[in-house]
Amino acid sequence: MNPGASSIIELTGVSKYFGPFKALDDINLSVMTGERVVVCGPSGSGKSTMIRCINRLEEHDEGRIVVDGIELGEDTQNIRAVRQDVGMVFQQFNLFPHLTVLENLTIGPIRVRKMDKARAEALARQYLDRVHIPEQADKYPAQLSGGQQQRVAIARSLCMEPRIMLFDEPTSALDPEMINEVLDVMVELAGTGMTMVVVTHEMGFARKVADRMVFMEAGRMVEVAPPAKFFSSPDSDRARLFLDQILEH
């Protein structure tokens, strides 16, 4: 394998059912190392389900998912190995409320990576710097604003030193004035060459950082295109309609 241009995430013929409802329908996607993919589409189109399959928070029913050379299946060792290499940022932050910001950041490195405490704390402070809130280390999550909490959540993922970052609508639960501080951090992260898969409706962000746009509807990938083409002349009517709706204002 050629590490520079190899695909780091490979979804082949992936389908997923919730009861009789087909949430994902024959998804084929390969993400290259260092590539930034932005996934958009109407709600209920399967964007979150797809991204959650990549670190197996959801189990796919058909097809294959290979992440960083490891195939996801029943093997829990494999699943944990993949999860250590894949950071995830949630819509609702999901910080651990009983731990301080610093403890939120160090618990993964200490318990999962078996790093000693001093090193983990140094690492944590370095990433708190990166997300511009070094002064909040000793507070509890509930004492922070939504934007600050989401930046802590990003730092928590980065502390595991992942090779891939997944973002599941990271700004959807934020007040409008806090969206940009989170997007700024994500743009900076994109600048470091991190492989990123981002589910979002923030089209300004997508234009700025995406290498490829993926448009989903009803569990299918309807269109995959570079952002320049996607925003100016999408092939599908569905994508055009969707863009009209969200770019109207």
Partner: protein, 285 residues
Amino acid sequence: MSAGGQMAGTGGRRAQPRPQWRRHLGRVIASRPASVLIYFAVMFAIIATALKGAEAMGYNWQWYRIPRYFYDVTEGGIVLGEIPWGLVGTIALSATAFLLATVIGLIVALLRLSDLIVGRWVAQGFLEIVRNSPLLVLLYVFYYVFGPIFGLDRYSASVLCLAVFHGALISEIFRAGINAVAKGQWEAADAIGMTRWQVYRYIVLPQSVRFMLPPMTGEVVNMIKSSAIVSVIAVAELTTIGRNIISDTYMSFEIWFTIAAVYMVVTLIISTGATLLERRYTVRD
């Protein structure tokens, strides 16, 4: 009163708020001095009736003989009487059984929440059997059946019986507490690659404590109270001591009142302590 009556009269057909005199009366009844007064009146009525009944049957009250069952002053100093020793027995028995019950409860709860079908079945079966048997019958089974089979003495049989009985109840407390932790917490912990055990240990159980603390206190109190049942197989504890003293002295009224009061003091202390502890755990969030 008459002014109040007028008010009620002028209310007419419309749905009026309660007339003024009734609101006033309500406020008087709810006030603290009135509550205390009513409490004492009721207590007085109960005690008076009891005393009268005791008098009618010619009961010979001998309260003066009670203190020496608590302590005795001898040349060597103050010596604890039988009742404090009985209390020590009760507390030791309850504490041992409670520790064991907590372990059993945690294991059963984790089994019920696990992906193992056999584990869930075992836990569910255990729960149904224990919950649907009277504690007294369970004690007889442990002492007269398991006792000879596994060579349990009466103390171990009592501890195990209480632990199993309360373990089943505690497992439900654990399960509810664990389920009360938000799903996103599991996902966040899974997403950084924690094992199932690590998720429980570092993320979920610490957060369930505040959901579990109030019902767990209730279980401590229940444990102390239900430990009295082992007196039927003559394990040395507070209730057994009470029975023994009565069989020597025939002072059943005084002794049972005293024993009941001792239980009440202990459980009240525990409840108060738990309230303070709860306040500590609700600070964050």
